[in-house]
Symmetry: C2
Subunit: 231 residues, 2 copies
């Protein structure tokens, strides 16, 4: 099935010389498994390439724009290129409806979809880079990703949410948050941990994730939102 990609190209601000590159960038490995005769590859190699292009463009931008020490630039960069941000950019571009994935994947709209959207964003960058070169990929990254730098600063996305919540909790209510594991579900290779974050006895929020650490980070993030401390 060849989707009409004109709408997406418009959103991306580019038209591909080699359309197959864009199609490949949108193809999840699960689609290949379901369509054995499919002529194209899945997007993982393009993602590998796009990730490195993204990294250099963002690095160069921060290096020239800010005189700050390397440690700060590294934290800001991590916030700009992390999965959540890239999934969001993909949504803004309307990538979701062009994704080629298995029927199983297409039903899973939670965390798995976010992951898939983030990877597609990197793969699209890889495709632009191959088709048009560094300058075009750079224009795309500056115009669509680096533009979120204000949000990174405003919402302190570069701060680890656990440190951020602890700081705020101490400032606002003089309490150090604690974390308790509520449950862990699923088989070993696909376990999901559910963790609650507390201020004293008050359960502020819960979070889940594939590790305790990530579940705690997600709980802290949810708690920051719930308390309105993420502004």
């Amino acid at each position: 099935m060849k989707k009409d990609l004109e709408g997406l190209e418009k959103a991306l601000g580019t038209s591909f010389k080699e359309q197959g590159l864009l199609e490949t960038a949108l193809t999840h490995r699960s689609y290949i498994n379901e369509h054995r005769g499919y002529a194209l590859d899945h997007n993982e190699r393009l993602e590998f390439l796009g990730d490195a292009v993204l990294e250099l463009v963002v690095t160069e931008y921060l290096f020239h724009q800010y005189p700050n020490p390397e440690g700060e630039l590294t934290a800001w960069r991590a916030a700009l290129v992390r999965g959540e941000m890239l999934a969001k950019v993909s949504r803004e571009l309307g990538v979701e409806k062009y994704l080629m994935m298995s029927r199983g994947e297409s039903k899973d709209t939670g965390r798995a979809r976010e992951y898939l959207l983030a990877n597609a964003c990197e793969a699209i960058i890889g495709a632009i880079y191959l088709d048009k070169g560094y300058e075009d990929a750079k224009d795309f990254i500056l115009g669509r990703i680096v533009t979120h730098i204000g949000e990174v600063f405003d919402k302190k996305l570069f701060v680890d949410p656990k440190s951020h919540f602890q700081e705020k909790a101490q400032e606002m209510v003089s309490i150090t948050p604690t974390y308790r594991e509520h449950e862990s579900v699923g088989p070993d290779h696909n376990r999901v941990f559910v963790v609650g974050v507390y201020l004293g006895d008050e359960l502020v929020a819960t979070g889940e994730g594939p590790s305790k650490q990530e579940a705690q980070r997600n709980a802290a993030k949810a708690a920051l939102e719930k308390k309105g401390w993420d502004k």
Copy 2:
């Protein structure tokens, strides 16, 4: 103190328009602390930039050269750009005698020196990139770093040494290696763990590192060499 950098430029195969960039790339933060009036910055920001340039050049090379899946390319890339490899490249270029560091640092020729040499290598790449652009940085990386790809394959540097040693031990002597902590020395913030790797009761080698994990990796690496299983 302005060192004569001509010899180094020759080894690097480039001559800098802006010599200060190369000097900065060679300057460790400890040097600045000891020389308050020093006009230049230390090399950490250049290292931040150079690391991303290195990543893209190596990524692009592997992407075009090998049709392998992303997971394999990622492992090969990691082996090419890891600290040990970059420190080695710095030594090959004779970077060591040009490093500007505090008297304290200059006495420490062990692990700290390796780290410093690896960082200088990335900073030099950043300096070339700023002074001459992507193509020159790419030439340097292809000619000096990517050339070690044969060694990566021959010595299986892309395999975690613990898995590698375990595989070999099972193949050669049908024993699963075990690790025992021998001692840990130094204050909390600077602890060094010493670990031994055993085949049954035989102590094959020891390794040290700032974490148990890294000490085990180093022990496994030493054991592979000792047994001649690293060929």
